[in-house]
Structures are given as structure tokens and as C-alpha cells.
Amino acid sequence: MTSPETLPSLAQKVRPIETGSHVVAAAFLGECAVFATGEGEVLVTGESEARVKAHSGAILEAANDGNRIVTAGDDGRLVAVDRQGQSETLVEAPGKWIDHVALGPDGALAWSVGRTVFARTQKGENKLDLPSTVGGLAFAPKGLRIAIAHYNGATLIYLNAPEAVPELLGWKGSHLGDLFSPDGRFLITVMQEPTLHGWRLADGQHMRMSGYPGRVRSIGFTADGKWLATSGAREVILWPFQGKDGPMGKEPRLLAPGQGETRVSAVACHPKHEVLAAGYSDGMVMLVRLADGALILARRASGSPVSALAWRADGQVLAFGSEDGQAGLLAL
């Protein structure tokens, strides 16, 4: 195992940021890094630093489209914050938790409250009741289509054809999050069990990606769509998606093992290059080059799990945040 002390390090270049509470999400709105927290705040860094009290409770999930971050709160509100720190309440559902939120093209917005998914597009708002609580929402890379993860599978709906019958992709078990591949050919879900499931959308072919010691919480495709990077194990797990069958019958690559018993808690693929950032349960952050597995230390272990990672669109800055509220920016 490589000791982090012997690795090339950029840790001294990190600009530390104290958010004050559990960093639920990090994102970039243009040049500005923003952090959404468990105390309901959105911290906007940049020329005009702002701390927006968006929710009276915790932020449960956040989505962004580069122009605004939309936060879902356990106060029943959905709030959009822009890079000037201006906030706008989009939805109010008093007494409920808004569990999930996703942003699509042309300002399309989807969110879920318990078993109900709501979607708002330029044409209006529609809603769909599911047989079980929604585990995750994802927009397809093209078209106004969303995938809803839930117990025993995922449901696909077209937002501009609300009368069409939703398409159910069935697989036993509880699905707690989902993601389309960048080419739109595959849908991946993270499950309650320490495993991922996937479907090839053209024919519904199943893909099981298992072998994890713990639940997988963070997944992302590389910019070229060739690899799916995931947390959940001691190493970053990379499933090959180059071929038409995805990872079926193929072994994953294992890169960048953590120290001792620590596991990878967050991953974020670089928007341009074959590089990814990996955050660990001990607070360490590493940059990993996929071609040869070369590592650069971006942040030393702090003791608190890394809970959020995001790259700026140009790939020049990495934002990270951890459960104890410590966050930072690393300019490359």
C-alpha cells in the first residue's frame, strides 16, 4: 500500500472553508463553488461570499445545472440559489420531507415527497404516485425523461407525455438512487444491499455489479462514458462500459486503496480528462489518473468522512466537503 506521506501532494494548496455542518452537496455555479449543508444553509463562495439560510431544517439532497443549485429540505421546501446568493422558494409542502430532487434540460425540475414524484416543465406540472417510497431521481441525458428508483425496480416516465404508461424496470430489492450513462443506453441504480444494478434500456438486459463490503452511496461516469466509478469499497471500483454489454462478464478495476479499514465514501469524475477525485471515510481526498492509477494527495485524512465532491466545469478546481462541516477548494 502506498502511504499518503510519500505521494505527490497538493494538500498545501487547498483553500479551507468552514461550512459549520454536514456538507450534503458541493457544486459549481459557473466559477462559484457552493456547498449545501445539514443545517439548511447554502454557502456561496467566490467574489461575493454569501451564506444563504435556505431551509429551517436539513438539506437532504441537492441538484444543480451550473446556473443554480436546487436544494430539497426536510422542512418541505425546494429552494433555488444562484451564484449571487439570491434564493427563491420553488415548492412548499409543509410537514413533509422533500427527499429527492433532479434538474433536467430547459429548467425542467423533478422532486419527490415520499411515494409521490412531481415534475415541473415549461408546459406545466404533473405528478405520479408510486407503490413505494422514491429512492432516487435521475434525468436522462436527452429528452424530458426521468428514471425513478424505488422498491423492486425503477420506473421511466416521459415528462412531456404524462398520459403514456410508465415503463417499469423490475429487480427485486430496494433501489436507493439512480443514474443514466452519458450515452443514455444504461440505467444504473444503487441498492440497499451492497450492490449496484443496471439495465440496458434497449432490451432490459440486467447487469449486476456486486462484491462491495458496504452500501454504495456515490457513483459517476467518466467524461467519455467508458467507466462507472463508485464508492463503497476500500478501493475506487471502476466498471467497464466501453462495450455494448456494459460490464457484463467483465471484472472491474480497483484503484487507489484507502488506508487500513477506510473506504471510499465519494467519487467525482473529472469533466474532461481520465482523472477522478476520490474521497474516503477518514477524510482523505486523492486524485487518481485512470490510465496508470497514479495518485496525487489532495487532502490529508481529517477523521470525518468525505461527503461531497465536485469539479468545476473546466476541470480546474475541485470542491470537497465532509460530514464535520470542513470543506475546501483545490485549484489545479
Binding site: G38, T133, Y151, R215
Partner: protein, 319 residues
């Protein structure tokens, strides 16, 4: 790693007084803050800042075991609560009167995030002293809640005479001889008898002694029963684990709770375990003390258990 957040589960049949107990815990001057998870239909009049509605979604785990169920809503809610963990010191989960406590308890052992950050402290069951006997007859849920309990509040004790109270207590003991029983009126009980029990904490499994045994009055509940076994001879660990794992894999749906303190051959340490259905959690606990009787004791509480076969299996693991 900071300490795990304790979770207390409050169960009890409809009308027994769960909400009264919940409000009592919340209003005592203990200086602690709680996050309260209630079922959506019973959240009337709970005076607390952080109250979340649950919807009792029971999910099967994808491992081919029908009794390995978890509460999907609890996982979701606890994940959310953990994002502001500084706001509370403990979590109280109130279930509906019809809820099965097992998926609630198993959530704390089968979900890794929940299990890492929180610890199930105890299952507290509120029972109605006047009506419990009827419910044990007609409601399987009521029987489960008694069988599962670590602490039982025999509430509304003022509404029955001492003979009736004794009779209902014997009925409880026939199902669950190990729970701590408190006779209460309007759930008046010292908070320390309900919270901080560590009932699932391997460190705190001290002894397995039935709290109360009077063979003369022992009512054998025809369906739910407890089987306690002991051996003064040390056990062979390989044989014991092979047997117990096979037993819970096969009989898991029938076994509600299990607990054991074991003395293995050539092992200076006590091994302790506790389980819910087929989910077992066990570890070496500490060295046997010189003045301590090295005896293995195990107990199973379940329905329609084959006592003879279980005893035979246990005996066969003696070294």
C-alpha cells in the same frame, strides 16, 4: 468516531399508552433532545421540535431470506436525521399497534450506515393491563410485541385488581421471561428504566436469568415460548457456530429473539451474542473472572420452536 446515537423503539397495541409514554419521556427534565419518528396516523399531540412521520415500509433484503426484512422508511429518515446529528441526543421510534418489531430492530443490524451511526438501545412495549390477555388471544402482533420486548410497561395497572395484575404478568412471563416489567399508571416510570438499557449491546449482556420463574404458575403459551439451555461443560466453537448458524438459517422466521453467553473450550474469554430472527451479532466480551461460574447459557424466544431438537443441537456442540 463519535458515539453512536441511541435509539429506543416504543411498541404496544392500540390504546395501550405508547403516546403517553412518548410524551412522558419528552417532557421529563432530563435535558436531552430527541428526534421522534412516529407513524403518520398517530402523531397527535406530540410536543417536540423534531417529529418525523414514518410510513412503515417493510423491505425484504435481497439475500433469499424471508425474515431478513428492514424498514425502508427508517433507513431513509435516519439518513436524513444524521445530516443534523448535533441537534438531538437520541431517537425515539414509535411504531403502530400493528407493527412487527423485527424489521425495525433488524434495520439497525442490516443497514451499514444506520448500524454505524446509531445503536438500538431497547424495544419497550407498553401493554394494557386490562386488555392484554384478550389481545394475546386475538392479535398476533400483540404477542410479537411482548415476545420481542426488553422492557414492558404493564400500564393502566390501576384499572385491575392485584390478582388480575398477577395473572396478566404470568401470561407475559410465559412468553418472555427475560424482559423487565414495570407496573405503571399513565406510563409513570423512571426514565432510567426505559432509556439507556443497552439491550442489544454485547458489552452489556451480563447474565441470562429469567427475571421471574415460578414453575407452579408457569403458563405455557401454546404458540410463543422461550427455550433456555445451559451447559457447565465448555462448548466447541466450530460445532456451536455450525449448529447455531444452521438453526437460525432454517428456523429464523420462527425465532424472534436470541441471546447467549458462551464458554468455549480453551478460551479464556466470554463469548456473547444476540440475535433477531436470523441476524446474529456476536463477539468476545471479556475474560472470565476467577470467581465466575464458567457456564454457557442461551435463550431463544420464538413461535412453535422445536425445543427437543434445539436442546439436542446445543448439547452436541459440547466439546
Amino acid at each position: 468516531m463519535s458515539a453512536k446515537i441511541p435509539v429506543t423503539v416504543l411498541t404496544g397495541y392500540l390504546g395501550a399508552g405508547k403516546t403517553t409514554l412518548l410524551n412522558r419521556i419528552l417532557s421529563e427534565p432530563h435535558g436531552k433532545k430527541f428526534a421522534v419518528i412516529v407513524n403518520e396516523f398517530g402523531e397527535i399531540g406530540i410536543d417536540n421540535e423534531l417529529v418525523v412521520g414514518a410510513d412503515e415500509e417493510v423491505f425484504e433484503m435481497n439475500n433469499g431470506c424471508v425474515c431478513c426484512t428492514v424498514r425502508g422508511d427508517l433507513i431513509r429518515i435516519i439518513d436524513g436525521l444524521l445530516k443534523r446529528r448535533g441537534r438531538f441526543d437520541g431517537i425515539l421510534v414509535e411504531t403502530t399497534g400493528l407493527a412487527d418489531p423485527a424489521p425495525v430492530a433488524q434495520t439497525f443490524f442490516l443497514d451499514d450506515t444506520v448500524g454505524e451511526r446509531t445503536a438500538l438501545d431497547a424495544v419497550v412495549t407498553v401493554a394494557d393491563a386490562k386488555w392484554l390477555k384478550d389481545r394475546l388471544r386475538d392479535a398476533p402482533e400483540a404477542k410479537n410485541q411482548i415476545a420481542f420486548a426488553d422492557v414492558i410497561l404493564l400500564n393502566k395497572a390501576d384499572l385491575v385488581n392485584p390478582d388480575e395484575l398477577r395473572d396478566v404478568e404470568l401470561r407475559i412471563r410465559a412468553i418472555n421471561p427475560y424482559a423487565r416489567i414495570h407496573h405503571t399508571t399513565r406510563c409513570e416510570v423512571a426514565i432510567g428504566s426505559v432509556l439507556g438499557q443497552g439491550a442489544f449491546d454485547l458489552e452489556r449482556i451480563l447474565a441470562i436469568e429469567p427475571a421471574f420463574l415460578e414453575e407452579d404458575h408457569h403458563h405455557h403459551d401454546e404458540e410463543v415460548q422461550s427455550i433456555a439451555l445451559s451447559s457447565e461443560k465448555p462448548l466447541d466453537p466450530d460445532r456451536f457456530f455450525a449448529w447455531v448458524q444452521e438453526l437460525v438459517a432454517r428456523e429464523g422466521p420462527k425465532i424472534l429473539r436470541s441471546k447467549g453467553i458462551l464458554s468455549f473450550k480453551d478460551d479464556p474469554q466470554r463469548f456473547v451474542f444476540q440475535g433477531v430472527h436470523m441476524v446474529l451479532d456476536g463477539d468476545h466480551q471479556r475474560e472470565w473472572r476467577a470467581d465466575e461460574k464458567r457456564e454457557s447459557r442461551i435463550v431463544f424466544i420464538g413461535r412453535e420452536l422445536d425445543a427437543e431438537a434445539i436442546e439436542k443441537g446445543f448439547k452436541s456442540s459440547v466439546a
